[in-house]
Symmetry: C3
């Protein structure tokens, strides 16, 4: 349903804050997501909603089979499904991946609200900053000398872009996000409120009397399509660059230390932390609250499960799934956890054996 395809019927102007959706036909839906209609292609749906929230005017989606109960309970007019059977008899659009189809559709139907281009008179933009076309800088934002802001980028209220920093095109810095001096952010990146790119790394050397600061003269660099969550912090390198690879997504309150290299298309979940100079491959997943110590290497596609910890210098092979602290292969972790749960029993059995042995000795 690219805008050229869709026969969109814009509703009348709504008050700020309300949903702004278009209505559309199942044929339009199928065209937008590359699926096929089962039922009346001309049926109109007015919005996209989750199964439990859908009204009889809405389209919903069935993430996977085995949700017959939720589907039956839903009031949705029509469904995105992987198989017609999942629709329980309702009109549907059949696609390979219903959740993906929902995401594609939602981006069309409920496009992000974007402020109008222009620089607020309450923003502070240094005269030497270079601003692309269509840039929006909101009230209270600061853009320092020599910074570059790519075309179409939005700098939210109170956000900060330091001296000589470079922000690519079509980025969004939400309010109160900060990109520090000389750091670089690729195209289409999103920084949520309070995200800090390029604060100093935590580098000191003991001089006999105090922790002397090692000047952090490198930068942090985000490649294209990176998203960084609220209040996350990605430190600049001591020398060179801390790098977040193309398409990597970082959740809230994540900490990435100086000189860390994160590969492309990785996922760092909430409150995960990576200490200095560690190196993550492509499509690595760190689950919530994972801790990666310094000088660690994690191979492509590896997964560290929630609260797992990788000790200094650890090596996690590509494709591994590891858990626990210190981290072990997930299957081993589960087996060990099961045995830890049985430890009191095991200890009792050992005691029984000892008693028997003592008894025999005495015989």
């Amino acid at each position: 349903m690219k805008s050229s395809q869709a026969t969109t019927r814009r509703r009348g102007r709504r008050p700020a804050g309300s949903r702004r959706e278009r209505s559309f036909t199942l044929a339009e839906v199928a065209a937008a997501v590359g699926g096929s209609v089962v039922g009346d292609p001309g049926q109109v749906v007015a919005g996209v909603e989750s199964l439990d929230r859908a009204t009889p005017a809405d389209l919903s989606w069935v993430a996977d089979s085995g949700r017959a109960r939720d589907v039956s309970a839903s009031r949705a007019a029509a469904l995105l499904v992987a198989s017609p059977a999942d629709a329980c008899g309702r009109p549907c659009v059949v696609v390979a991946n219903p959740t993906l189809a929902m995401a594609i559709l939602l981006a069309i139907v409920r496009p992000e609200r974007r402020p109008s281009p222009g620089i607020s008179r309450r923003a502070h933009v240094h005269r030497s900053a270079r601003m692309g076309s269509g840039v929006c800088v909101q009230a209270g934002a600061t853009i320092e000398a020599g910074a570059t802001i790519g075309a179409g980028t939005i700098i939210g209220a109170g956000a900060f872009v330091g001296e000589g920093a470079e922000i690519g095109r079509d980025c969004r810095l939400y309010p109160l996000a900060a990109v520090m001096e000389r750091c670089r952010v690729g195209a289409r990146c999103v920084l949520h409120p309070g995200a800090v790119i390029g604060a100093d790394g935590f580098g000191y050397i003991w001089d006999g009397e105090r922790h002397r600061k090692i000047p952090q003269v490198g930068i942090a660099r985000l490649e294209d399509d990176v998203e960084v969550g609220a209040n996350a912090a990605i430190d600049r390198a001591t020398f060179g660059e801390t790098v977040i690879g193309r398409g990597t997504k970082i959740d809230n309150l994540v900490q990435v230390g100086h000189n860390v290299q994160v590969g492309e298309l990785s996922l760092l979940c909430g409150q995960a932390g990576i200490a200095g100079s560690s190196k993550l491959g492509r499509r690595v997943t760190l689950a919530g609250q994972v801790g990666v110590s310094d000088h660690v290497e994690i191979g492509d596609g590896a997964i560290v499960t929630g609260q797992g910890g990788i000790v200094r210098g650890g090596r996690i092979p590509a494709g591994a799934v590891v858990s626990g602290m210190p981290a072990a292969p997930h299957r081993d972790f589960l087996r060990r956890a099961a045995w830890i749960a049985r430890l009191p029993e095991l200890a009792h059995r050992v005691e029984q054996l000892e008693r028997r042995a003592e008894g025999r000795q005495e015989d």
Copy 2:
């Protein structure tokens, strides 16, 4: 000691930053906290302080019995106590809960400093925002189109209220707090500096080439009397609402994922994290650094102790106290921990048994 009851003697105007307290009699104290005086009801005390910091002009409190040493060492003029014996002979006011009495008294004696109502000319308030009576908006704050700010609410310096957001009455957004587009905050809520309400949830779907963003079209909603700590982040829902129940208190650096439901009167301590779609009951306590994975359910009154982890889909029954990762009943956790500490010894005992058995075999 409601203001109508108290015979307050306001001191002369003091320089900014200093303590501003009234002096009061023990009779007034007893009236304010519902206690009874042991000693001279007319005795005047000038402030409330902890035992170790109290001067001979101050009132202090004895949190529990068995603090005779601290009481003896204290210079306090008088004490709030649960039993006259706890006062070690000093004048006292006897109440059921001395700490509660102290909290009540302190709120009267040292009321929060509130800035004067009015909108700073350095704030940016959209003309379509609706402002209740007595609202204060400080310098550098931004209030977007269609936002609603309830009567008596304070929006601190540099804070942000997004388009169509609704903030209830008598709230306080401290400097640099943010409430994003369309989110809702109930009455008497407090957001500490850097708290972010309603950043996007961490939702992506792999499309074969990249993590495609699932638009996060829901909101975050805080019910009345919620407090959110510094740099905490509460994400908006994918669809529908992320909800923080009435009277729940959230500490610094806590992460609450999209579509999470937290019941009333819960406590989420520092750096705890809750992943998407989990559901916490009423009066749940998550201690510091607890991690709750996605699609977890935690029953009313349950407690997860520090650094505990609840794995995906976990169910914690009402009233349970659980610890460890994966979490187990606290008693079991302690027993297992004790056995883990003795594991080397246990292994040695098994080896001894094996040797004996070998020896016997050889016989």
Copy 3:
């Protein structure tokens, strides 16, 4: 190489964001760091870089022996080394601690970029605030009534200094940092973006119906030379002071609860957390994601390794190295971890013993 000693050759003016370094001779380097030249003292180097990034014009350093391979691969013109042998034949300056020498040199060669003194007309400074000489207040910053800013201090864009707060001389508050009402920051402190000093402690008392707030009437106080990372939070005390000792360095996203006392020269690494009223000695190290519960005492020089947890009321002796949750001496932790990994095997051995014993019984 104090500025009076060095024969600095300032390069022509460079565009903003580029490196600004001076070139210097090895003799000058040796004088600056207290080392001795091996090779031509007149040799000129143009910058300081890591081994892998150094150009043939740069000086680098060899952190420890056993890096012969990295040294050979480096293009560096000259090296800071602990022993001439570590230079692999290249010109070098021999010093006791090459990393320390690098840090000293770098601070001279690539001094921090400091904005010019002066108060931005876009900043909000209350007329009763006391400003030292040479203070810089950037756009969007707020300084409230009665606050004091020491000479030479920089208040970054959008930063906040509350009523009656005192900031010492030569401090740097990076953009969006906050020092709340009445809190005190010593000389030469650095607060990174989003750091919050003096938000309310997490103190409530159940009154039978709700969590009633205990007013947090104390302050947070940072002694001299403290550095606080991005989005870290240090709470004010309930009564009295939360104190961070002189020269202590705090990493990103660290949480320090109310009434905590951290001694001098300690290191709190990323995402570590300390709950209320705990007391850390001098030169304590908390590694990443460490959790310290309330009312804990940690002795001078103790180290808690990554993700370690100290339970309520715990006592860690001076000089101890502890790991795990609950924390144990690091050696014990390693032994236990090794036995946990072998638990399935141990269980199997117990089972074998039981079978033998059964067999014998049957004999």
